[in-house]
């Protein structure tokens, strides 16, 4: 009860955004540009994972929930029951999920089946893919993460990640770990890749990297839309922010941050 009171949406003049860790950095860029145009509106952004954002929207603790996956039927029903109506789903940007390895790793590409074998724990050593005989150290995300859910659905076909995978807080932490450990592997939004090698996905004989062309054309298999969820009657400030995010200016900011604009 007390928590609900403390976490109530901030007064007019502020917009609170909570949810997907993938979208935190981009939301901050949007917020900075937006605040320059509307100095009277403050935007507060926190991460925590897509699930956390939805829970906050459900309890009324945030104006906008950000998410890296579309609403499931069950979630939609739960939110509708709580809020009196289903929230509006606004796609804001596209991104792709990439698999990262250390720059020293000789492996360049893996097929979706091979990635699945690694994540299920069926293949444990790089030698299976022509690398050295070293254990594959795989990082994942905590289960609130939308990226975790996305990979579970699209790569694992809803089977469970092996329990040898180490969950980290945020894609930034995954990238950081992989950049420091020669035999590590991890996954996350392609925009986060820094000092790591992005694995190409092998489809047939072709090795497809998550470049903007490949993602836009649908050739790279692991791409998704990222969403804002808002209540049916958002405040004027929230509506203005949404409009800005989807405007050419907002989409250009996303492009510079390494995401892909909506079609």
């Amino acid at each position: 009860m007390l928590l609900a009171v403390l976490a109530a949406p901030a007064a007019a003049g502020t917009i609170t955004i909570k949810g997907s860790d993938t979208l935190v950095g981009l939301s901050q860029r949007w917020a900075r540009a937006f605040s320059r145009k509307h100095p009277d509106i403050t935007v507060q952004i926190t991460g925590g994972g897509s699930g956390t954002g939805l829970a906050a929207l459900e309890s009324g603790a945030t104006d906008i929930a950000t998410s890296s996956h579309p609403l499931g039927e069950e979630e939609q029903a739960r939110l509708a029951a709580k809020l009196g109506h289903a929230p509006i789903v606004v796609p804001v940007v596209r991104d792709s999920v990439a698999f990262f390895v250390n720059a020293k790793n000789p492996v360049r590409a893996l097929s979706l089946e091979q990635l699945r074998d690694v994540l299920l724990g069926d293949v444990a050593r790089w030698s299976a893919f022509g690398g050295p005989d070293r254990q594959i150290i795989t990082y994942t995300r905590e289960s609130t993460s939308g990226t975790y859910g996305f990979v579970k659905e699209r790569v694992l076909h809803d089977e469970d990640f092996a329990s040898t995978l180490q969950p980290l807080e945020g894609t930034g932490a995954v990238v950081n770990a992989v950049s420091h450990e020669p035999w590590a592997m991890g996954f996350g939004g392609t925009a986060f890749a820094r000092n790591v090698r992005v694995l190409a996905v092998r489809i047939g004989d072709e090795e497809v990297l998550p470049t903007s062309e490949n993602v836009m054309s649908g050739k790279y298999p692991l791409s998704r839309q990222l969403y804002f969820y808002v209540p049916v009657h958002p405040s004027a400030d929230t509506a203005a922010f949404l409009e800005f995010v989807r405007s050419p200016e907002g989409q250009a900011i996303a492009d510079r941050a390494g995401f892909l604009p909506l079609q």
Binding site: G48, G49, G51, T52, A55, R134, Q135, I137, E142, S143, T144, D158, E159, D160, F161, S163, T164, L165, Q166, P167, L168, A177, H180, E181, W183, A184
Partner: protein, 310 residues
């Protein structure tokens, strides 16, 4: 004329305040236990939960032998607490193996061998170590210790039970040290004098006379240290890698009971089985500490009283 009246009233108020303060600890403890246990209670009537699912190996994937798996968010939730118990034991074990000898040896030195001036420096400095926030120790383990140990031993997992255990040892050495030191210094001087009079060396006296005489206190120190290590969360959350692996290797990544509660409490749906499970983990931690402190602690106090009576 008014003075005595005022004093006695102040007296009563203060007495009342002190009583309330004294009882509050007990009340809070009881309320905590009742509240946590109540939240875990629905598990007893939950059809998705059974003793076998919690503690015995379960079929996880087709064509695979049954295993202990903790994966509460899944199409078919797997809720074995065995990997978490093993994780807690591994980290606590490493921490105790390192912290117990160091803490006790440091206490023996400080109480029996150190010149008074040096002792006045050592004791506060070691106790200052206890004041380092665990998040700082965890951060140090994550950024510095893990890489250093990995380059030394070439472990596949950078973050593992040993890294977390070493950082945890830093947190519990001061506890073991302080309590042991107090116990050693509480041994009557006459014991030492008698020992010296019989021609024993300082070392013989410390090892054969003082330490055994203080044994209950030392045991109490170890129990306190163990309790802190089992419940400690931030260090393990940051430095253990948090993969719920069932294995005997200490260099494997590991997930503890306390870190599981911390990592998953943000994502649970209130009232769900998962929520109750996290409370159940809390009950286990609580009970382990309560039982340890209750039995070993009580035994140690008993020994001390008997020794005094003799």
């Amino acid at each position: 004329m008014a003075a005595p009246f005022r004093i006695s009233r102040t007296d009563r108020v203060v007495e009342w305040l002190v009583t309330v303060a004294g009882m509050s600890g007990l009340v809070v403890l009881l309320l905590m236990l009742v509240f946590i246990a109540r939240e875990a209670l629905p598990l007893l009537f939950d059809h998705d939960v059974s003793f076998a699912k919690l503690f015995l190996p379960q079929a996880v994937r087709e064509g695979r032998p049954p295993a202990w798996v903790w994966q509460p968010i899944s199409r078919v939730p797997k809720i074995s607490v065995v990997p978490l118990i093993i994780g807690s034991l591994k980290v606590t074990g490493v921490a105790m193996v390192l912290a117990a000898p160091v803490g006790i040896a440091a206490a023996v030195f400080s109480a029996e061998f150190a010149p008074p001036r040096l002792r006045e420096v050592i004791k506060p400095v070691v106790e200052l170590l206890a004041g380092i926030p665990s998040v700082v120790l965890g951060f140090f383990a994550l950024m510095v210790l893990a890489s250093a140990l990995q380059s030394l031993f070439d472990w596949p997992y950078r973050l593992n039970a040993i890294v977390a255990g070493v950082a945890m040892a830093l947190a519990i050495v001061p506890i073991v040290f302080t309590v042991t030191e107090d116990a050693l210094r509480a041994v009557p001087g006459s014991y030492r004098e008698a020992s010296f009079a019989l021609g024993a060396t300082r070392w013989d006296t410390a090892w054969r006379i003082v330490l055994p005489a203080a044994a209950p206190g030392v045991l109490g120190a170890l129990v306190l240290g163990f309790g802190r290590a089992v419940g400690e969360t931030m260090i393990v959350l940051m430095a253990s890698g948090n993969a719920a692996i069932v294995s005997a290797r200490l260099s494997d990544s590991t997930r503890t009971l306390s870190a599981t509660i911390a990592a998953e409490m943000g994502e649970v749906v209130p009232g769900s089985t998962h929520t109750s499970l996290l409370y159940f983990l809390g009950v286990m931690l609580f009970v382990v500490n309560l039982v340890l402190n209750g039995t070993v602690g009580a035994w140690a106090r008993n020994r001390v009283q008997r020794a005094r009576g003799r």
